[in-house]
């Protein structure tokens, strides 16, 4: 490990990120600006998550990376290899064995425990950005707790589709104060964020924002009394492990459009298949 500083980033950068993480934990759901660095991977590949992971990892950690629930996709494999090389951490695909889990767009099916840290890769941290493009305005809206526009958006969903059609990056309110983008996780995962024993950290590299949820923080998905939030998933069971409770991916398997549903969480699915075979 003579080529790089521990965990790739220089110490001053890590201190800056660490200070942002602490302020993020002190004000749950508030997006702390930070001086995001160029990383040896393109924006959109998890540069924010990687910087947060680099700032929290210690040599004693066991690191897991998932991309849409899978441990074996290019993004997950590359980031795992990156920290194996630069931080010399142990890596795993098992959710239970990991101390730090970096994730792109999923929360593992297995409940997280105290002492674990979940690091989310975030593309657009500002939940109001597609409603109000100006940063000066969205910042003011957060300051004034002016979230009416978000409810208008959800209402327009209902007016157009008959139900709230937002199915991922579903906005949440933290401890009754900040509206936060949970990153593009399926809304199926939203309830897992609330009252979670693990520390949840969010890093957006291109947008230069870090935000955080301490353990046991109240996270409420926005909804209406007559259109309550529903954590939906395909009404199918996994073709490999027969799970009816996990979040499923739909996979087209031939040219005639035949499809199968499989768990998006590969570790969860593989563990169930192993158990059934035994």
């Amino acid at each position: 490990m003579s080529e790089y500083n521990f965990a790739y980033l220089d110490e001053q950068t890590k201190r800056m990120i660490r200070r942002a993480i602490l302020k993020g934990l002190a004000v749950p759901g508030y997006q702390v600006p930070f001086a995001s660095r160029e990383m040896p991977m393109p924006y959109g590949w998890g540069t924010g998550g990687v910087q947060v992971s680099a700032a929290v990892l210690t040599p004693d950690d066991t690191f897991k990376v998932i991309d849409q629930g899978a441990d074996d996709t290019t993004n997950a494999v590359s980031i795992r290899a990156f920290f194996e090389r630069t931080a010399e951490v142990a890596t795993t695909t098992s959710t239970e064995d990991a101390t730090v889990i970096q994730t792109r767009h999923r929360i593992p099916e297995v409940s997280l425990q105290e002492g674990q840290i979940l690091v989310y890769q975030v593309p657009i941290p500002e939940p109001l950005r597609f409603l109000e493009p100006r940063e000066t305005e969205t910042r003011k809206m957060h300051a004034l707790e002016d979230y009416g526009l978000m409810h208008v958006k959800l209402y327009e969903d209902i007016a157009r589709h008959g139900h709230i059609a937002t199915s991922y990056a579903y906005p949440v309110k933290i401890e009754g104060r900040y509206v936060m983008d949970p990153s593009p996780i399926p809304k199926f995962d939203n309830p897992k964020m609330s009252d979670n024993p693990a520390i949840q950290l969010f890093g957006a590299g291109r947008e230069q924002r870090i935000y955080a949820l301490p353990p046991y923080t109240q996270v409420v998905s926005l909804d209406f009394e007559d259109h309550p939030f529903e954590a939906s998933k395909p009404d199918q069971c996994c073709s490999l492990c027969q799970s009816t409770t996990s979040y499923l991916d739909e996979v087209i398997v031939d040219d005639s459009g035949k499809r199968m549903y499989v768990c998006s969480d590969t570790d969860y699915c593989a563990a169930r298949v192993r158990k059934q075979a035994a």
Partner: protein, 187 residues
């Protein structure tokens, strides 16, 4: 000046500050929890824990206010050599360090702005003792309730009223560290 200030930093800065940060993050994320941070030997009267917090979080980008009895030539030299943080008055401090009574009044520190509540001071409070007993804590990071031997109650209640603005506190005693972010409700 005997050059003693050259000692007492982390012997392996990258891994020791990573380990120290994890403990600090743990106590900030879980108010009431007490952890140990090792590796720093700052000059008296600073505790090893306060030294580790400074080494982990402060650098030339953060202004530090030394309150009362911790503002000694030895401490100044140690901070100048190991940390390089500019020393400032309380109104411009990113971090303030001292005993509780010497850090008063809390109104002199920046608590952030409505648009940028993160631009607030973090107070590192040197404590004679630190136990998971005393004031009751509720809020984010706490399952049901937690307890911490706070130096006072009313100032923390007033600080929480400013939420999302406000000050964040890190308590240090010998090797031990605990924290109270502004989000915590104290009773």
């Amino acid at each position: 000046m005997d050059g003693g200030y050259l000692d007492g930093g982390f012997s392996n800065p990258s891994t020791e500050s990573a380990a120290a940060f994890r403990q600090i993050m743990e106590v900030v994320a879980r108010p009431g929890v007490i952890c140990e941070v090792a590796g720093a030997q700052p000059p008296a009267p600073l505790s090893p824990a306060a030294g580790a917090v400074l080494l982990t979080l402060c650098d030339a980008d953060t202004s530090v206010y030394l309150a009362g009895s911790v503002d000694t030539p030895d401490v100044r030299s140690w901070i100048a050599f190991h940390i390089g943080a500019p020393l400032v008055g309380p109104a411009h401090a990113t971090f303030a360090l001292g005993r509780w009574d010497e850090l008063m009044p809390l109104g002199q520190y920046p608590i952030g702005t409505p648009e940028y509540p993160d631009r607030s001071a973090t107070l590192i409070v040197e404590m004679p003792s630190l136990d998971a007993a005393g004031a009751t804590l509720r809020g984010p990071g706490i399952k049901d309730t937690a307890h911490l031997s706070l130096p006072d109650v009313a100032p923390f209640q007033e600080n929480a009223l400013h939420f999302p603005l406000g000050l964040d506190f890190i308590f240090t005693c010998e090797q031990r560290v605990a924290a109270l972010p502004r989000s915590t409700e104290v009773s």
